[in-house]
Every structure is written in structure tokens, then in C-alpha cells.
């Protein structure tokens, strides 16, 4: 297994009045070239989970394994782990600091021991991938627009060519077009580089459209971890933990109740369109 967590517990403010158990006996496995979506309402432990994956936080108990090796072993090189498991935080544009975009993107690769030239090539590759045009490469990251800053910051992590790319709400605060571009870019990256992508999102439509597998977090535990179609068939349970299924699921359910022979298992807009057209066609034939 590429990356896995075994029975991990994590606390914030252990032994104070602020003590909160952020994760309770969490276990998860990530294989190569997977696209996994993490959903759960605010405070359910998603962000903590992400920080455990690349060793930014140390589990209180339990193990985190990368290529089968415990990352908290004494002789484990956690710096190299972070090259292998890239983490993009929420609002990554808040971490830009260099005088120009390309130097900022080079920061990661250079830290991970690449030569100046290699780092630059990686940076150019990453900037091209996120779709930041050449004319922006020399400008100050603080002069860019919000969406461009976001891309520059994401490029800064992708440039290290991680085997696992972890993203905490990369589309938060972007316009619909910007969101789609970032998600399409992630899909393309996964196809090209055969890397695993873990994506946190609050949009059910987003995860329904892009990921294959969904993990649902609630109060520090993983309540579902399955193929997306299966997870979204538990609408009632999802609603109980303040989540929902994609909107099309509700439409299909309503249609079914009205007597249309639609497939309520469809979760994307495209699939829903097809099953509805099919149902309508069959009905008019009958």
C-alpha cells in the first residue's frame, strides 16, 4: 500500500480544558493512482487527517505508513516524505513569499535537493500544468489575481512531483470556471503522472464528478469509505451528519416517485441527463 493510517488517535490541547479528540481510531489505505474525495462538515477531522499524512502532525497513538514504513521511526526521513506526499493547504496563496512567481514555485523542488536548473524545469512544467501563462512568471505573486495566485501556489507543490497529492479545498472561493479548471487540471495530472490525489471538498457535485472513492468524516471518525455511487446511496445517513448527496440524486428520487423509470444511482449531471432522457423516451413509447 502506498500510504496508510492504522488506528490513529489525535488530540488537540491534550490535558487542558481545550482538549478535543480530533481523530478516533482512524484507519485508511491509499493505493497508487487513486482519486479520493474527503467530505465531512467543519470540525469533523479532515484537516487534521491531512496533516497526519505527511508528518506535519504526529499521531497520539497509531501508525502512519508510507510505502510500508512507519514515518515516525527514528531513521525515517520526513523531509523526503514531504516530497512524496505533497500537501496543499486551504488558501495556499497565503503562503506565497518570493519576489517572483517562478522562484516561489522553485522553493519546494530546491528544498528537496534538486539542482537550480532541475528546479526551474520542474517549475516551468508545473506552471504550464496549472495554466499560468509565461507572462506571469516574472511578476510578483502579490500582483496576481486571486485565481492566479491559487494556481501559482498549487504549482509550488506540484513542482515536487509528489506520489500523493493532498489538497484541502483547492477550489474554495474561486468562481465556477476557476473551480472547473483546477479540478480538470488535477484529473489530467493524475492521468499523466499516475499519482494519487486526495481531495477535500464541500461540494458534493465536485466529488461526484471527479473522484472515484469517497471517505466521509464525522466527529473524528470515518463513517463511509467506498465507491462514490455507494456512498451517495446513503442519503439519509449523510443528511444526519449535516452532509448531502449531489442535487441530481434528489431530482432523480423525486422523478422516481412520480413514476419515471429513472436510475437513482446516477450521481453526476451527465449520467442523470441520460437516465432521464431514457426514461422519458420509454414513457412516450409506452
Amino acid at each position: 500500500m502506498l500510504l496508510s493510517l492504522k488506528n490513529v488517535d489525535y488530540y488537540y490541547g491534550k490535558d487542558t480544558v481545550y482538549e478535543v479528540q480530533a481523530l478516533k481510531q482512524v484507519s485508511a489505505d491509499f493505493a497508487e493512482n487513486e482519486f479520493v474525495g474527503l467530505i465531512g462538515h467543519t470540525g469533523s477531522g479532515k484537516s487534521t487527517f491531512l496533516q497526519l499524512l505527511n508528518g506535519l502532525e504526529k499521531p497520539y497513538s497509531g501508525e502512519v505508513l508510507f510505502h510500508g514504513k512507519n514515518i515516525w521511526d527514528r531513521d525515517f526521513n520526513r523531509k523526503q516524505l514531504r516530497a512524496g506526499v505533497g500537501l496543499v493547504f486551504q488558501y495556499p496563496e497565503h503562503q506565497l513569499f518570493e519576489a517572483d512567481v517562478i522562484s516561489d514555485v522553485c522553493f519546494g523542488p530546491r528544498n528537496f535537493g534538486l539542482s537550480e536548473e532541475e528546479a526551474r524545469n520542474r517549475a516551468l512544467w508545473a506552471l504550464d500544468l496549472v495554466g499560468l501563462e509565461k507572462r506571469f512568471h516574472q511578476s510578483s505573486p502579490f500582483e496576481l489575481s486571486g485565481g492566479q495566485k491559487r494556481r501559482a501556489a498549487i504549482a509550488g507543490v506540484i513542482a515536487s512531483k509528489p506520489e500523493v497529492l493532498v489538497m484541502d479545498e483547492p477550489t474554495a472561493g474561486l468562481d465556477p470556471k476557476g473551480k472547473k479548471e483546477i479540478l480538470d487540471m488535477l484529473s489530467a495530472l493524475r492521468r499523466q503522472e499516475k499519482c494519487t490525489i486526495i481531495l477535500v471538498s464541500h461540494s458534493m457535485e465536485e466529488v461526484a464528478e471527479y473522484v472515484d472513492r469517497i471517505m466521509v468524516f464525522d466527529a473524528g471518525s470515518i463513517v463511509f469509505d467506498d465507491q462514490k455511487e455507494k456512498v451517495f446511496s446513503h442519503i439519509e445517513e449523510l443528511e444526519r451528519i449535516q452532509l448531502a448527496a449531489p442535487q441530481v440524486c434528489y431530482i432523480l428520487r423525486a422523478l422516481k416517485q412520480k413514476g419515471f423509470a429513472v436510475d437513482t444511482g446516477a450521481i453526476t449531471l451527465e449520467a442523470a441527463k441520460e437516465t432521464i432522457l431514457e426514461a422519458v423516451k420509454n414513457r412516450s413509447h409506452a
Binding site: G13, T16, A83, Q95, F107, F142, G156
Partner: protein
């Protein structure tokens, strides 16, 4: 990483100390500090220690929390101790090359360290038991007399409360930025001093940018709610002394009286080294 810095933070609890009027607590803390520096006889220190221990016990703030407040000031403490140890003249008890330690020096070093630590304890106990809001209100109320000489008391109090409020926010922000840069392979621990200082640039630049952004947002939000300064501003919860506050004042008077007594009686416990 930085979540360990506890100085200037509020620790929610429901102790008597938490419920006291903030003005009482500020006066008490000031009294404690003044006494610490004015009455430097062993009996005075013993009394201060007793006072501090009883306050900490009453406050219900975990002791290790209070001790952690010293952590960021450890170097300052060390420096004070070293300077006092080597630079205070007197009868030398240890001499080696150009270094001389006098009995006086040892005494001064211990006294200064004790004073600083007590100072930190006393003031952090104040911030631990008082919400920033209460603190500002109290300061404003205590400094009111200065308004007569055109001191912008409300504005000063507001600035202080904002500054206090921003300490945890900026610490959290620093923590977040450090983590984000660590995720990009930044290393804050290894290397020599120059390398370490250089490694802070990726943290400091975003931190400054974010501090300005936050300040700007806050100013905008305050303006949007028609904030125009202290003039004609009323309070939703005006401060009012309760019975327990008068009792606390009485307690402080007793403390001060006992301190003065130690001075008058001049209980001399000669320190022999």
C-alpha cells in the same frame, strides 16, 4: 509548534479570580509587581510566594500552563542571571581568569531571576483570568482621569485590546504558514544561525502580508459598524464593583500592610554563602 506560547492568553474557567472585576485584578497585579520591587527582604519574598501560590490555586489555571509562559522568555532570564552573576562587584567567592563571581552577584542573580519569574507569573495570571474585552474596559475605566489632560484613553484601550486579540490569531497564522512551508520542504531547525534566520523569510513575508490584510479588514469592518472612536460611546455591560470586589480590595490591603510590616520589622535572614 507555536501553540505552546501561552503568555497573554485567556484560560476559560469559572473561578473567583475569573469573576472578579477586571479593574480589581489589574490593581492587584500592579500592587503585586510594585511590592516585588519595593520590598526586597526575604520575608517579603516569602509573602509574595505565598500570595502567588494562593492566587494560582484560586484561579484554577493548570500550573504547567502558567509555567509554559516562561518558555519564550528563558533567554532573557538567562541573560539577566549571567550579567548579574559576573558583573556585580563584592567579595569574590569564585575567580577564574577574567571571571569573578561575588556572593553579592549570586544573591542578585537569584533575586533578579525570582523577580522576573514572579513578574511573568503575576501578569500572565491576570491575562489568563481576564478576557481581552474585560481587560480593555477595565483599563479604559482606570485611565479615565487622564482624559482631563487630553490623553485619548479610549483609543489607547482599543489599540491594546486589538493587539491582545491578535496575538493568538497571528500565532495560529504563523503556525499555519510554517506548516505550509514545511510541506514544501522548508527546514527551520537545522543549519547555522544565518541559515536559520534566512529560513524564516518564507514565514515572515506571508505573515506580514496577512497581518496587513487582517488589519485592513478589521478597520473596514469597524467603519462599516460606524465606529468613530470613544466619543459618546456607551457600554453594553458597564463595569460595576460587587461585594467580592470590595473583599478583594480588602485582601490586597492586608497584603500590602503585611508587606510594609516586613519592611518595618526588617526581618533579616542573613544569607550566608
Amino acid at each position: 509548534m507555536l501553540r505552546e506560547i501561552t503568555i497573554g492568553q485567556y484560560y476559560p474557567s469559572n473561578s473567583i479570580l475569573h469573576r472578579l472585576d477586571a479593574r480589581v485584578k489589574i490593581i492587584g497585579a500592579l500592587l503585586f509587581i510594585v511590592c516585588l520591587f519595593v520590598f526586597h527582604n526575604p520575608a517579603g519574598y516569602a509573602l509574595s510566594t505565598l500570595f502567588l501560590i494562593s492566587m494560582i490555586t484560586v484561579s484554577k489555571v493548570p500550573v504547567f500552563y502558567i509555567f509554559r509562559g516562561i518558555k519564550p522568555l528563558v533567554y532573557l532570564l538567562l541573560l539577566t542571571v549571567i550579567f548579574n552573576l559576573f558583573l556585580v562587584p563584592g567579595k569574590y567567592i569564585v575567580s577564574w581568569w577574567i571571571f569573578h563571581i561575588s556572593a553579592e552577584g549570586v544573591r542578585m542573580a537569584v533575586v533578579m531571576a525570582l523577580r522576573l519569574i514572579y513578574l511573568i507569573f503575576g501578569t500572565s495570571l491576570l491575562t489568563f483570568t481576564t478576557t481581552p474585552n474585560n481587560m480593555t474596559d477595565a483599563l479604559e475605566s482606570l485611565l479615565k482621569p487622564l482624559q482631563a489632560v487630553k490623553v485619548p484613553v479610549h483609543e489607547i484601550a482599543m489599540m491594546m485590546s486589538i493587539a491582545l486579540r491578535f496575538i493568538p490569531i497571528l500565532l495560529e497564522e504563523t503556525d499555519k504558514i510554517m506548516k505550509a512551508q514545511t510541506a514544501r520542504g522548508a527546514d527551520f531547525e537545522s543549519g547555522n544561525l544565518i541559515k536559520k534566520i534566512k529560513s524564516l523569510i518564507p514565514v515572515l513575508v506571508p505573515l506580514f502580508v496577512s497581518a496587513f490584510r487582517r488589519a485592513n479588514d478589521l478597520a473596514l469592518a469597524m467603519e462599516a459598524r460606524c465606529y468613530t472612536g470613544g466619543k459618546g460611546r456607551t457600554k453594553m455591560k458597564p463595569l460595576q464593583y460587587q461585594r467580592r470586589d470590595y473583599l478583594a480590595f480588602l485582601f490586597f490591603c492586608v497584603y500590602l500592610g503585611m508587606m510594609i510590616l516586613t519592611k518595618i520589622a526588617d526581618v533579616k535572614i542573613p544569607i550566608r554563602l
